[in-house]
Symmetry: C2
Subunit: 331 residues, 2 copies
């Protein structure tokens, strides 16, 4: 019995490739005094990880070359010398891309897989769901009757944004890549419309889908999509800036060209990350958990199987090849 | 006795030239029932007027070709058939670029030239001062000890921004064009530092002037200055976006390239105009009036003499050739 790990082998310049990772096997760790060992069931793959691979100032510590890639997993405690955790507990831990990890309990959340599926704690009832909740409620602040647009609409964050907006009485419009994702967003998630940005002429499609303009644009992608959205923003509209996946490999692609719109329409654009608002996690997770438990907040998962497939799945995520929350199933 | 007027003769494409205006003479108007006639003493010239010359959607009605250029003046009522205004009253009116105008009283402010100089009601105790007050207090929200940077620092808005920031206990740093303006901003207005953007290497100068980074950047210019500022913004910093004078002739120059900073530093950028907050004008004008009356808020004026010189003075304003609030003295 070994512990498989994915290390960051090299920092990418441009697109991420499998060669930027290295898979190794080590011994399964032992718990020291005040620690416990978790066997991961699911590893979460998220766009923010791309930023961690760079050697640039950011809002969180970068991953180190030669170390286990950073990330969050859900799993089961198999050995404990910690007074608050015991074998058999299910937990969320930041133990990275590996099968077994050691924790001293900091930032660890206990989970109840009898309430909602274990994997949901990495998606709709985890960081992505809280990101959607905070970005929409704290920064977007939509009122009933307003129009909310979200990019990467079938993804873990975007799918929650639109469904929460609908619950507030808003018109929810998604932007996603391809007909299958758009059909899912409208037919399964209940958005009012979803635009396939790969089909061309996003500008005209937005005019059709948002006849009263846009009051909140929840931006997960940046780049040309944001520039086009700026043509459609209403006076006093809000842009919670959550992600810039279109520019991870090429920051020049992120340039905002339609800058006059900020002044003409008095737009508030605000970058945020969910950990800026730790005080809101408890109410957000409570509401999101109830909604998933009751079947009112839906989500979809792309599940890669086995840690060996994590690099490939992550590269696919950066290209939009996932469909819903990207997970790696480890057990 | 005639009424001289400046008409918009043609919409500029690119830089404004004198040929875009036409000066005509008409009869001095008569007051109809419920109206009064104002003889303007000072006409205000402001960067926002450049936007009014374009045939583009904006936050206010555009100027019409063949009509009197839009603008605000202060002057004296010389004839009245309005119950609330009488001959001899001093008022601020939106009667445009002309010597005599008719008003029915809407939006007209009565002035007391015994309290502060009449021209100050067009500057520090008028729209520019209120713009500074609202942008700083409502959007910038600086706390004591924070660093506030403002561009066009010797101008009507910028000079008030920095002085108000100092009163709040902030470090105030200006950006202006040329040594004379920078010396004035530091020595006369009391800013902690002022950077001459024409001297080159704004980035290094900002590092020197703002050793603890920047918490509020009050942006009057947009363009390359904003891009450079984005290198210096602290986490959770604010950018009240007030003007984009660098891009009036060339919107491409406004492109924001350093977009990653918005997310990394969770920056809030917000376009605003002072008329979005009419509820704040009364408290703002009261405070600004007291500060000017007491000599605690200083300002400087560039005064062109005679309406014939208004087009040339306006073109100079757009090029930064003014030094302080640009006025045209008509009497």
């Amino acid at each position: 019995m070994k512990n498989k790990q994915v290390l960051l082998a090299a920092r990418p310049r441009g697109p991420v490739e499998e060669s930027h990772f290295r898979i190794v096997e080590t011994d399964i760790p032992k718990a020291g005094e005040g620690e416990f060992v978790v066997r991961a069931h699911y590893l979460s793959l998220d766009p923010y990880m791309r930023g961690r691979m760079d050697d640039a100032k950011s809002y969180a510590a970068k991953a180190e070359v030669g170390a286990v890639m950073v990330g969050t997993a859900v799993g089961e405690v198999i050995e404990s010398r910690h007074e608050k955790f015991k074998a058999g507990d299910f937990v969320e831990t930041r133990t990275g891309w590996q099968e077994y990890g050691v924790s001293s309990g900091g930032g660890v959340r206990k989970l109840d897989p009898g309430y909602i599926p274990l994997s949901a704690y990495l998606g709709a009832v985890g960081m992505p769901g809280v990101t959607a909740w905070i970005g929409l409620n704290e920064h977007g602040r939509p009122k009933a009757g307003e129009t909310v647009v979200v990019s990467a609409a079938s993804g873990a964050v975007g799918s929650a944004v639109g469904q929460l907006a609908k619950m507030k009485g808003c018109r929810a419009v998604g932007i996603a890549g391809g007909k299958a994702k758009c059909d899912y967003v409208v037919n399964e998630l209940g958005f009012d419309a979803c635009i396939d940005y790969k089909a061309g002429d996003l500008d005209a499609a937005l005019s059709n889908a948002c006849p009263k303009g846009v009051d909140v644009y929840f931006d997960n992608v940046g780049g040309p999509t944001l520039n086009t959205m700026l043509n459609h923003m209403n006076a006093f509209s809000r842009i919670p800036l959550c992600g810039q996946i279109s520019g991870y490999n090429n920051p020049d692609a992120l340039a905002i060209r339609n800058v006059r719109s900020f002044l003409v329409n008095r737009i508030a654009l605000r970058g945020f990350i969910c950990s800026d608002h730790m005080d809101l996690w408890r109410p957000a997770l409570k509401e999101l958990g109830e909604l998933v438990h009751d079947g009112r907040l839906k989500y979809r998962e792309s599940v890669a199987v086995g840690l060996d497939n994590a690099p490939k799945a992550f590269i696919g995520l950066l290209k939009g090849q996932n469909f819903g929350k990207q997970l790696v199933k480890l057990i």
